[in-house]
């Protein structure tokens, strides 16, 4: 950070002064249950308090309640809520508006949707100034440039005129932060500020937030990701079902967690955990247990089949070129070769836009390669006419990032699984048995069979997706970001499940993710992709130990870990 930016960004509050004091905050919607059920905390200037919780824990509602925007129908009560010396209880709307943005800055999760896609980001930032200062439009413009410079935006005068859709994820998030800190608010609330970002970009944004706390801002950091919170927070509060179950300094929480839930959260983080180690606590009450025939606590990982055997899937020199909307050509996949061995997991890691999903589609023969071939079980697979391939389709399954979109919305779980299991119509006893078997193997209660996936939780949905992939008894499953939409503990369960299934059925996985930690935990060997090319390949442990490519090193360095 430069000298100018430091002066711009320092709130006029001495470090250590309490800036936000919340006592017994309770929120419910309509006649519903307490979503936030009596939480209390204090934030001082220059401090970062992390609130960690999974979806539904009430952490976002807490954040919004603090600025009086809990939403329509919300009943918010507190014993007291103070901003500095000032009580925020029972304020009139106009008074609230004077506080929002000026005294409390607010950063939402997804900058793409949190900045108006139809307005230049410069205007969005200037809005805060328009609302709270008497600066002329020209003066606002100058200040916007300063702010953008301060948050590390390259070419600020150019970027200010662009709309959020035209910026990359990281720059977008910087713009959003700039709009939140435009008035140097003493308190900054950041709700999942880095969730949608690639690891390297995430690191940069966290660095920016760290600079803000360093200059005296009180930061309330809300996240589902302990690893992220660890980077910044001085203190951590673990939230679950509307309550704070445990609070303490970051070090205390991570090293000596008192509460079971905290422990399960920590255990669920895959980063740096050896292959085969279980992440989930099977007694976790959050979701239906993954027990059944497969449920044992830990099981040392042994490759069930020797690597010398013939590869199940082999891709040679795949290239796929797309035409972008501005008519230029983009090599989405450039000369990619990979080999998948029976019973093994091949990890494919890369940031967004690196071409990893296109690789998955080429392997699944949903796209035809411009160059190169794919061989399945030693026989030609792609390019081939679809009709020649169709009868062998059942040898390869797929699991997608967004399972809800991958289900026909009209079908129930049973119909989906019946349809996937056989070509015939459903309803026979045989089919019912098979559906029960599948539900059992992915740890779903049999009562879910009549539900539609849209009505299930995210974790249950991904289990249905896995069950569907298993249904034709494939030897290979392509997993494209199978856990990136899930909470950590759910992610842990799903990852464990995938490992268990591999143990039981000897399935080979191509495991695609942007999350180095997840891939590292899941894979036997690893491919690192960037800009359509494989930049590094090798045994997972070896790559983690001594990355050969500079990009891999950067990825490793950026990945937050506990």
């Amino acid at each position: 950070m430069t000298d100018t930016s430091a002066s711009i960004l320092s709130p006029a509050v001495a470090r250590g002064t309490p800036v936000l004091d919340v006592q017994n905050l309770r929120v419910r919607f309509g006649r519903g249950p307490q979503v936030v059920d009596g939480i209390s905390f204090e934030l001082t200037a220059g401090e970062c308090l992390g609130i960690v919780g999974e979806s539904g824990s009430g952490k976002s509602v807490t954040a919004r309640s603090l600025i009086g925007l809990a939403g329509t129908g919300a009943h918010v009560e507190t014993d007291h809520l103070r901003l500095g010396e000032r009580s925020l209880v029972g304020l009139r709307p106009a008074t609230w508006r004077g506080i929002r943005g000026r005294k409390i800055g607010f950063i939402l999760q997804d900058a793409l949707s949190s900045l108006d896609p139809l307005r230049p980001v410069g205007r969005e930032i200037a809005d805060a100034l328009r609302l709270h200062t008497r600066l002329s439009p020209a003066a606002r413009g100058v200040r916007v440039q300063e702010l953008l410079t301060a948050v590390g935006m390259p070419e600020p005068h150019l970027r200010a005129r662009q709309r959020s859709g035209e910026l990359s994820g990281g720059l977008r998030q910087r713009a959003l932060i700039a709009s939140a800190i435009a008035l140097n608010p003493p308190v900054l609330i950041a709700d999942e500020p880095t969730t949608a970002l690639d690891a390297t970009v995430q690191a940069q944004v966290l660095e920016l937030l760290a600079q803000l706390t360093a200059s005296g801002t009180g930061l309330l950091l809300i996240s589902h990701d302990l690893a992220v919170v660890k980077q910044l927070a001085d203190r951590v509060a673990v939230m679950r079902a509307g309550r704070i179950v445990e609070t303490g300094s970051t070090a205390e929480i991570l090293e000596a967690p008192q509460h079971d839930y905290t422990r399960s959260l920590i255990a669920a983080v895959p980063t740096g955990r050896p292959r085969g180690e279980r992440l989930s606590v099977s007694s976790s009450p959050v979701l239906p247990a993954t027990t059944g025939a497969l449920g044992t606590q830990t099981r040392p990982h042994e490759p069930p089949v020797a690597p010398e055997q013939h590869p199940v899937l082999d891709a040679q020199r795949l290239t796929k070129v797309f035409r972008t909307p501005d008519r230029s050509l983009m090599r989405a996949v450039d000369d990619v070769s990979l080999t998948l061995h029976p019973g093994r997991t091949l990890g494919l890691v890369g940031e967004s836009g690196s071409g990893k999903t296109t690789v998955a589609r080429l392997l699944l023969a949903l796209e035809t390669p411009d160059h190169g071939t794919v061989t399945l079980h030693g026989e030609p697979w792609s390019p081939l006419p679809e009709s020649a391939r169709r009868h062998r389709r059942r040898q390869m399954g797929a699991i997608y990032q967004d399972p809800s979109a991958s289900f026909d919305p009209r079908l129930t779980v049973e119909q989906i699984l019946t349809d996937a299991a056989g070509n015939g119509s459903g309803g026979t006893r045989q089919h019912r048995t098979r559906v029960a078997e599948l539900l059992d193997s992915v740890g779903l209660a049999s009562r879910t069979r009549d539900s539609r996936p849209a009505h299930l939780s995210g974790g249950q949905r991904q289990r249905v997706a896995i069950a569907r992939a298993l249904a034709p008894r494939p030897g290979i499953i392509i997993c494209d970001e199978p856990v990136s939409a899930l909470d950590v503990t759910v992610q842990a369960q799903v990852l464990d499940l995938l490992n268990d299934l591999q143990q039981e059925f000897g399935i080979s996985y191509l495991f695609i993710s942007h999350d180095l930690g997840v891939v590292g935990h899941m894979s036997d060997s690893l491919l690192v992709m960037r800009g359509g090319r494989i930049v590094e390949r090798g045994d997972t442990e070896a790559v983690f130990r001594s990355p050969a490519h500079e990009y891999t090193s950067r990825l490793l360095a950026a990945a937050p870990r506990l």
């Binding site: 508006r97 929002r100 943005g101 000026r102 939402l108 108006d116 809005d127 709270h132």
Partner: protein, 308 residues
């Protein structure tokens, strides 16, 4: 962008050709002798000699294919032919009538926009009741036939109150009732779409961001809501323009306004085929232009479209 525009123009030329072809052959299916239409229309008592002469003059004795290519050739030279009834150049005739309709439809489009946007901004999320009332008004407005609305306006504003002229008079005052008649049903349609889009926008994270910045509800509507409400309105404007041209047939008849709609109705009634063809082509052309312009505006207003 240039390439996109080029493609659009090529597509437009194709559509024009297809419209010309479709209309040419469709009109040949209409029972009745074109030569008869030329010689004074239905009920006239033209002699066989006169009919033969006219068939020769207008090339109606030639095979259909020859007539078609002849017409196409003239069209390429910008010649829309000669009106059967008026014996005047169709191009000139349509040009005369075009401006009246253009002014009427564009004014109605603008008015519909303002009504729809205004009502949506006024009532959306202003509470359960106002939202219901607003959306009820839109549904009702969309279900009102033009000719009925026009009659009610004439009775109320011309006959009873005497405020506004019942028929077209020079100047903007004569436009008020026709424009209202066209605009209100359209506003009902646009309003429904805009309301939905506005409601989405007001619940979106960026609106929350704006509120968190200290923006008032009015400010959120003004700085963010309007754009998002307007977006589907812009996309629909091409369709709306076509609907307005249909409405113009009725409105121009009721308010005795000169224009393409009335020309079309008259021409169909007396089977003046060149005029019908001409009006069809001009409407298609206008529709294509409006669509290109709205797509262009769409792309400028919403950069997401250019990239996805």
């Amino acid at each position: 962008m240039l390439r996109w525009l080029g493609l659009r123009i090529a597509g437009g030329v194709f559509v024009l050709w297809a419209v010309a072809t479709l209309i040419f052959f469709a009109l040949r299916l209409i029972p009745g002798d074109p030569a008869q239409a030329i010689l004074g229309g239905p009920g006239s008592q033209a002699s066989p000699e006169a009919l033969a002469q006219v068939r020769l003059d207008y090339g109606l004795d030639q095979p259909l294919a020859a007539q078609y290519f002849g017409a196409l050739g003239r069209l390429l030279r910008g010649d829309l032919g000669t009106s059967y009834a008026l014996k005047t150049d169709v191009g000139a005739l349509i040009l005369d009538q075009f401006w009246g309709t253009l002014v009427l439809t564009l004014a109605a489009l603008a008015a519909a926009w303002i009504f729809a946007l205004g009502l949506a901004l006024w009532t959306t999320r202003g509470g359960w009741l106002s939202d219901r009332v607003g959306s009820g008004m839109e549904i009702m407005a969309a279900a009102v036939p033009h000719f009925w609305l026009a009659s009610v306006f004439i009775i109320v504003f011309s006959s009873w109150l005497g405020w506004l002229p019942a028929i077209s008079v020079p100047g903007p005052i004569g436009l008020v009732l026709p424009v209202l008649t066209l605009a209100i049903p359209l506003a009902g349609f646009l309003g429904q779409v805009m309301r939905e889009s506005l409601a989405d926008a007001l619940e979106s994270p960026f609106a929350l961001s704006a509120r968190a910045r200290g923006e008032s509800e009015t400010g959120v509507r003004w700085y963010h809501g309007i754009r998002h409400a307007a977006l589907p309105g812009i996309s629909l404007s091409g369709w709306a323009f076509g609907a307005l041209l249909s409405g113009a047939v009725v409105v121009e008849t009721v308010f005795a306004r000169p224009g393409l709609g009335r020309t079309l109705l008259n021409a169909v009634t007396i089977r003046d085929i060149p005029v019908v063809t001409g009006v069809a082509l001009v409407s298609a052309l206008a529709f294509i232009l409006v669509t290109v312009v709205t797509d262009l505006v769409d792309r400028i207003a919403d950069p997401r479209l250019g990239t996805s």
